[in-house]
């Protein structure tokens, strides 16, 4: 699913964000990406969807080599990845339906097929009754569940989550993580950057620790 070999990323400012990363993440894994702020977690996640290109080394995500990929290949890869942000990035002026259906719109789905699919994923996250609501009417936890619904709607084999529980209280964070775990049990690979280490005990997975851009450890939590 994901292969890294001597992966290095240096910004134009000269700062080395990632250095000499070697790692393989197999299909169906649940991976926690941990480390202090500035350790390179977000940089690594951005590289995985082609938002940043490696300075050297190799990064292969779903058989796409990020460094040499064309814009078209990056677009195709992004259609096979679900992304969840810490700030959920829901569009406030759009309904929940429009927010969740956006990845399918991008992929050119017929309008008639959208509604049943959106209803199905909203039922999965327990918010099927909020189809025509606006994000601002939802709580932070509900908004993050909508963001999960949006990320999973196109049934991507890989979900990248950048601190999805960062703004949530413990109970809500656990509920969000339950959803991600459920997705993982359905075969989706989940890569989640987090600071909430206490979640690792209740929701076990592979832990990848970064420190100043280097891999410290990769172990089973």
């Amino acid at each position: 699913m994901i292969h890294m070999s001597n992966l290095m990323m240096r910004y134009q400012t000269g700062k080395v964000a990632l250095s000499g990363l070697n790692m393989d993440i197999p299909q169906g894994s649940f991976v926690y990406l941990i480390g202090e702020s500035g350790a390179g977690k977000s940089t690594l996640l951005k590289m995985m969807y082609g938002g940043l290109r490696p300075t050297s080394g190799q990064l292969k995500v779903q058989d796409t080599t990020i460094r040499g990929a064309t814009e078209g290949q990056v677009r195709e890869l992004r259609q096979r990845i679900g992304i969840i942000f810490q700030g959920n990035r829901l569009l406030a002026s759009r309904t929940i339906f429009e927010n969740v259906a956006m990845p399918l719109r991008v992929q050119g789905w017929d309008a008639v097929r959208l509604l049943p699919r959106v209803k199905k994923v909203l039922a999965f996250v327990g918010l099927e009754d909020r189809l025509w609501s606006y994000p601002e009417t939802l709580s932070g936890g509900e908004q993050q569940r909508i963001a999960i619904a949006r990320a999973m709607i196109s049934n991507p084999p890989l979900i990248l989550a950048d601190e999805p529980t960062g703004n949530l209280d413990d109970d809500t964070a656990r509920h969000v993580l339950d959803l991600l775990m459920s997705l993982n049990k359905l075969g989706t690979t989940v890569l989640m950057a987090t600071h909430d280490l206490h979640l690792l005990t209740s929701h076990p997975g592979l832990v990848v620790q970064l420190h100043q851009g280097s891999l410290v450890t990769g172990k089973k939590a």
């Binding site: 569009l91 002026s93 932070g140 509920h175």
Partner: protein, 300 residues
């Protein structure tokens, strides 16, 4: 579950301005920027339409709807002996395409048409008309042809129709005015495109998050840009329709003046040019606005 470390940001959006479409989609909110752009572009298009309507009126007035310029030379009854020589000399002037001696029957038909339904005897009146030669000129017109015709006519006891000469000169002036109208149209079209472009840039800034998300989801560039291009087209076409609508009061108010000049300005002839022209400048503005949509990959 409900207690949060940080409450959700309270965002204020006026959802009532959006239009719900079947399937749950919405048109983008029609805000004050779009209304302003619509009005400004409509006024500019209205000005352009007025220029072209004025030109249309001028062309009708001088009769330049004729494809070819024709002038008439008259010969009095007492000078009829010189008619053949006059014809011969006129035909040798550079820039004269053809000559046509108007027969008595033609003159009578013309007189009947001119008299309309009156009871006057056209046959009797037409007998008093002088012999006339209709001269068709080459296009583009040779600069000296009119003065030469006038000269030859005078030397051979003929007389050129002075009113026709004035109309030809007025037609020449209208040709210059038409060139200026094209220039003004192009300048105003550019200004309109920039107004639409500015409006769409503001909308793009307001929807930067949406553009960013679409790109993250693997949207093709045309997919990202198409809504804005369509919006530009719709805005321009809407402004064109509004401009066309605003022409009618002016046409109605000027109807008496049009009648007195013997012209009939057509508002309907401006409908398609205004809508299509508006859509074109709107589309051009949208293309300018979306030429470079910056969407930083870095999250805030």
């Amino acid at each position: 579950m409900k207690s949060l470390k940080r409450s959700a940001p309270k965002l204020k959006h006026n959802h009532q301005t959006s239009m719900r479409l079947p399937g749950g989609w919405q048109l983008p909110p029609f805000g004050v920027h779009q209304v302003l752009a619509l009005v400004i572009v409509a006024v500019a298009l209205w000005s352009v339409a007025l220029i072209w309507l004025a030109l249309q009126g001028g062309q009708q007035w001088v009769g330049s709807w004729q494809e070819q310029v024709k002038v008439h030379v008259y010969v009095d009854e007492k000078n009829q002996t010189s008619l053949e020589a006059l014809q011969n000399r006129l035909s040798h002037i550079e820039g004269v395409q053809s000559l046509h001696l108007i027969s008595d029957a033609e003159a009578q038909r013309w007189m009947e048409k001119w008299l309309g339904g009156s009871n006057l005897n056209a046959e009797g009146l037409s007998k008093h008309l002088p012999d006339s030669i209709e001269i068709t000129l080459h296009e583009p017109r040779v600069a000296t042809v009119l003065s030469e015709i006038q000269d030859v006519a005078e030397r051979n006891y003929g007389m050129i129709n002075e009113d026709e000469l004035k109309l030809v000169e007025a037609g020449d002036v209208l040709g210059t005015v038409q060139s200026l109208a094209w220039f003004a149209t192009l300048i105003l079209a550019l200004a309109m495109a920039l107004i639409v472009s500015n409006t769409l840039r503001m909308i793009l800034l307001a929807r930067a998050d949406e553009v960013y998300l679409m790109r993250l989801m693997g949207a093709k560039e045309w997919f990202v840009r198409l809504p804005f291009v369509l919006e530009g087209l719709a805005l321009g076409a809407g402004a064109g329709f509004l401009a066309w609508f605003l022409l009618w009061p002016l046409l109605w108010f000027s109807s008496g003046w049009q009648d007195s000049l013997g012209i009939a300005l057509s508002g309907w002839s401006m409908l398609l040019p205004l809508i299509i022209g508006g859509a074109l400048v709107g589309g051009m503005g949208a293309l300018i606005a979306t030429a470079n949509i910056v969407s930083p990959e870095t999250e805030s």
